[in-house]
């Protein structure tokens, strides 16, 4: 019981700290459109909570990254970007995210779509910081 409360506190503090560190850092990013830190929600995710932080990088060949960096992080297994319509499929563990990039040329572009896993599905909406 005490351990679970402690874990929840640590998880909450990690997310808050991540949000604080990323707040107000909407740097222009004119390179690969997925690169950067993204914050938003995957609504109805009872397992991991509504809030989500995604960090992605581009090495010239593949996009790699992490969902919720910290104690409960989830490594991104694959990212497929279709530049013809800027649609994106992200796979991380049991999760699949189908979304598309909106407001491509804005520093605070967004990635909007749906998430799904064996535990459920819902809307997915994150904004680049």
């Amino acid at each position: 019981m005490f351990l679970r409360i402690y874990q929840r506190i640590i998880k909450g503090l990690t997310i808050v700290l991540g949000l604080v560190m990323l707040a107000g850092t909407a740097h222009a990013q004119e390179g690969h459109p997925l690169k950067g830190s993204w914050i938003g929600e995957w609504s109805g995710n009872t397992a991991l909570g509504d809030f989500v932080l995604v960090v992605m990088d581009w090495d010239g060949e593949t996009v790699s990254g992490m969902i919720n960096p910290g104690t409960d992080n989830l490594a991104i297994d694959s990212v497929d970007l279709d530049p013809s319509d800027w649609s994106v499929e992200i796979k991380a563990g049991d999760y699949t995210i189908d979304a598309s990039i909106e407001n491509l040329e804005l520093p605070s572009r967004s990635l909007t779509g749906t998430w799904s896993s064996r535990n459920g599905r819902g809307d997915f909406d994150i904004v680049r910081q």
Partner: protein, 380 residues
């Protein structure tokens, strides 16, 4: 006195004819950023009115005028070129004065406000053009003047000759990156005549090509140099109409590249044999707008290696993308007193499929000084 506002959608053949005439006679194609970011090329507007004020300051001159709209009088702002460019074309702050009747044709602001980019400004009574700009480099001597050289090492002098007249490099023969040997039509802002030619411009990866096309289709309005005053890093600094200076600091083994306008931006090329990195343990992991540059002489050519760029800017007019994996090799050769040949090889495995090379010339503008202006953010 005619004072009426006419919004019109000019038929394409008329536009083409007007464009050809403008190219032959005069033009205002000398902007240092894509004006399409603020003004809509498809929203032509024409009107006549009375000048109320001339705001003669950088980065752009504005002429304010009263124009009759129906039964009321409204004030329009006509945006023109940089004062430096207008002065170089023989114009002055008092070339127009309050009370003058003028006619204007241009592009209206995208936000619908009463602002217009003045493509043609003329006196209403006589039709005489005002504040026109000719995009022609200074005439060169019939016999090329020899390359000036430093007495101590016989290397070419890259800038003004010590003790001689000042000057700057300007009038680049190319204003947007296109791989050498490729022939595509584009305007002075890097906007392609035919966006279907996009893939020919450079060997882009799929995402980079799609992003380039997206920027082209939006008329380059997302240019962060215009919207957010981001510096013209990379080769873009040699594509500006506002010129640049190369100052060789022999004692400290470095070369300064000073840029016309643009918030007193400058770049340093280190000539002391160091590696292109920052202070180890200090700022070495901080990517920069101008990267980190080290140079060396190969014969009469200055060869500069640069890496360590950030991704917060467009590295060329026209909107070709780059990533932080960008590195470039630049070659500067003063082929005669009045000509600087610039060549750059782009290597960015994050955005391109192979290295590619572009080259162009700049002209010596003797007696000129770098213009200064402070950029203003335009994001709304």
């Amino acid at each position: 006195m005619k004072q009426e506002l006419k919004k019109n959608r000019i038929p394409t053949p008329v536009k083409l004819l007007a464009g050809m005439l403008a190219a032959v006679t005069f033009s205002t194609v000398f902007a240092h950023h894509p004006i399409q970011g603020k003004f809509d090329p498809d929203a032509d507007v024409q009107f006549s009115g009375i000048v109320t004020r001339v705001d003669w300051r950088s980065p752009h001159v504005h002429v304010f005028m009263n124009v009759r709209e129906g039964n009321s009088m409204v004030n329009w702002a006509v945006e023109l070129e940089n004062p430096y460019i207008l002065i170089n074309n023989g114009w002055h702050e008092d070339s127009l004065q309050p009370g003058d009747a003028v006619s204007v044709a241009g592009m209206r602001a995208r936000n619908g406000s009463r602002q217009v980019w003045g493509e043609q400004v003329s006196l209403t009574d006589t039709g005489r053009p005002v504040y026109t700009v000719n995009d022609t480099s200074p005439a060169k001597p019939l016999s090329p003047r020899p390359v000036p050289r430093w007495s101590e090492d016989n290397h070419p002098v890259l800038g003004a000759v010590p003790g001689g007249a000042d000057g700057i490099w300007g009038y680049p023969t190319s204003k947007a990156l296109v791989e050498d040997g490729v022939n595509v039509g584009m305007n002075e802002y890097g906007l392609l005549d035919n966006v279907a030619d996009a893939a020919k411009v450079a060997p882009m990866q799929d995402w980079a090509l799609a992003r380039y096309i997206h920027r082209q289709e939006r008329d380059l309005r997302d240019d962060p140099m215009y919207l957010d005053c981001k510096p013209p890093g990379g080769p873009r600094q040699y594509q500006s109409d506002l010129g640049l200076q190369l100052i060789e600091d022999k004692q400290n083994q470095r070369i300064f590249v000073l840029l016309g306008s643009g918030n007193r931006n400058y770049r340093i090329i280190h000539m002391d044999g160091r590696d292109p990195v920052g202070l180890v343990g200090g700022d070495d992991d901080n990517p920069l707008f101008y990267g980190r540059s080290v140079g060396r002489w190969e014969g009469d050519t200055l060869v500069v290696d640069t890496e360590g760029f950030n991704e917060g800017f467009w590295f060329t007019n026209g909107g070709l993308p780059h990533t932080d994996r960008l590195s470039m090799v630049e070659k500067f050769t003063r082929t005669d007193f009045d000509t600087l040949h610039y060549e750059v090889t782009i290597d960015d495995p994050g955005a391109y499929t192979r290295p590619w090379t572009v080259s162009w010339d700049l002209s010596w503008v003797g007696g000129a000084e770098l213009p200064f202006s402070l950029c203003q953010h335009n994001r709304q």
